[in-house]
């Protein structure tokens, strides 16, 4: 019998994927080796290529293959506005609104004191340098409305306001087309606290 150490290596490597425990990792490894060797090869190559060519955009911190991502190098975007989001998926959602034409900064995380994630871990120092380019007039903070996202927004606000930058936070409340009857009480309570005059 051949030593299974290569197989064991593969199984333990697969466990780095989120939500994959020892059982699922084993299932994946057997599946790839038994039924889909071509798929496994594609996966291996794609992984190697991605690791080699994908890096962080020098201006917005998101994943890119070039020095600057497409969005940051576009001349059509308004360089006076910078929207701060937690993750590339959030940036994608913002883009889909077609309501924003400024630039972005992707934190790749949020402050989470209980997980040991502080300002250095999410690159607030990099954000600060990015904002001091002389072009950014307003920073729009679009982090999540979780406690962690709110804490992140607060400290970005404090940091940038002290340097004379206008900082705003996206609004929260009842969803568009939402009926009060079906909104959860937490959202409704906060919408009441953050009411505006009409």
């Amino acid at each position: 019998m051949k030593s299974p150490s290569t197989l064991e290596d593969l199984i333990s490597a697969l466990r780095c994927l989120p939500g994959v425990g020892p059982k699922s990792a084993q299932r994946m490894a057997y599946h790839l080796l038994q039924y889909d060797r071509a798929g496994a090869e594609r996966l291996g190559l794609a992984m190697g290529r991605a690791l080699q060519s994908i890096r962080r955009c020098a201006r917005c911190n998101t994943f890119t293959e070039a020095e600057l991502c497409q969005l940051c190098s576009s001349a059509k975007r308004d360089a006076s506005q910078l929207c701060v989001v937690e993750a590339p998926a959030d940036q994608l959602m913002m883009e889909q609104t077609l309501a924003y034409s400024g630039l972005y900064f992707v934190l790749m995380g949020r402050l989470s004191p209980l997980d040991g994630i502080g300002p250095r871990e999410i690159g607030l120092d990099v954000l600060q340098r990015r904002v001091s380019d002389g072009l950014v007039k307003e920073v729009i903070v679009a982090t999540n409305f979780t406690n962690e996202g709110e804490a992140t927004a607060h400290y970005i606000g404090e940091m940038l306001k002290a340097r004379g930058i206008r900082v705003s936070r996206i609004a929260r409340g009842i969803p568009v087309g939402g009926e009060l009857e079906y909104v959860d009480s937490g959202t409704l309570a906060q919408a009441l606290i953050e009411r505006r005059s009409v």
Binding site: P18, P113, L114, G116, G118, P119, E150, Y155, D184, S185
Partner: protein, 252 residues
């Protein structure tokens, strides 16, 4: 069929409990679930799994937030229970700004110092009061000192604040003391032999803390130093993450 279904629902409800609780922290668990560290009113800290809570349309997403009074229902035995229902109680606004950091600090203290499944109803009440005060934007330093004192006392490490730990004499408001976590206040001798001791506390400050009177700015400063020493001692000097991050944020 009807009968069977009703019977099943009944036994399930019997096994389930619904209690007032707070979520102290949550971690992603498996593909779509959350592992919750909770602080329940009658049973203390309980770990629960919230199945499917990370699915995009899960109704639990907006409910299982820290610092908010919740009603949680769960069933099961063993180390990890299963969450069966969660309801938002309301009553106080969300924490904002610096108060959020204070909230994380309180949660870290509970996670680090409170053993699991150890009932602490009095402490639960202190915790609720502290969060309400933070939500009202009361002076956060006073709220934190009060909670730290209550926490130590509920864990069985009540502070001696009215008499000298060695002699048993009443404290002299004008004298200088240090504090030994096991003995209590120890007077600093005039020959200076213990002057390097930490923390240095005025007798009056200790008496102020005993009465929860923080009007004197000196009391606030020295109480902070004292609590830090006592809490570090209970944590075996393992640093608190929220404290480090708070320091880093202030330096921004």
């Amino acid at each position: 069929m009807m009968h069977n279904f009703a019977g099943w629902a009944m036994t399930d409800r019997q096994r389930a409990q619904t209690e007032q609780a707070y979520v102290l922290h949550s971690y992603p668990y498996r593909e779509t679930s959350l592992l919750l560290e909770t602080f329940t009113q009658p049973y203390g800290r309980i770990t629960m799994v919230a199945r499917g809570a990370r699915r995009p349309r899960s109704a639990l997403r907006g409910v299982l937030l820290s610092f908010q009074p919740l009603s949680l229902g769960w069933f099961g035995k063993g180390e990890v229970r299963t969450l069966s229902r969660a309801e938002w109680h309301g009553g106080h606004p969300l924490l904002q700004g610096e108060a959020l950091l204070c909230g994380f600090y309180l949660n870290e203290l509970l996670l680090r110092l409170l053993p699991r499944e150890d009932p602490h109803e009095v402490l639960f009440d202190h915790y609720r009061q502290a969060l309400m005060a933070l939500a009202r934007s009361d002076a956060s330093a006073v709220v934190l000192r009060g909670f730290e004192k209550a926490l130590l006392s509920e864990l069985g490490y009540a502070m001696t604040l009215d008499r000298d730990g060695d002699t048993g004499n009443s404290l002299d408001p004008a004298a200088t003391y240090t504090y030994d976590p096991e003995r209590g206040p120890v007077r600093i001798l005039t020959d200076g032999s213990e002057v390097s001791a930490e923390p240095l506390l005025q007798g009056k400050v200790l008496l102020d803390i005993a009465r929860d009177d923080y009007r004197d700015p000196l009391t606030l400063v020295q109480a902070k130093a004292l609590m830090r020493v006592l809490i570090n001692h209970r944590l075996d000097d393992q640093p608190l993450r929220s404290r480090r991050i708070f320091r880093e944020l202030l330096a921004l």
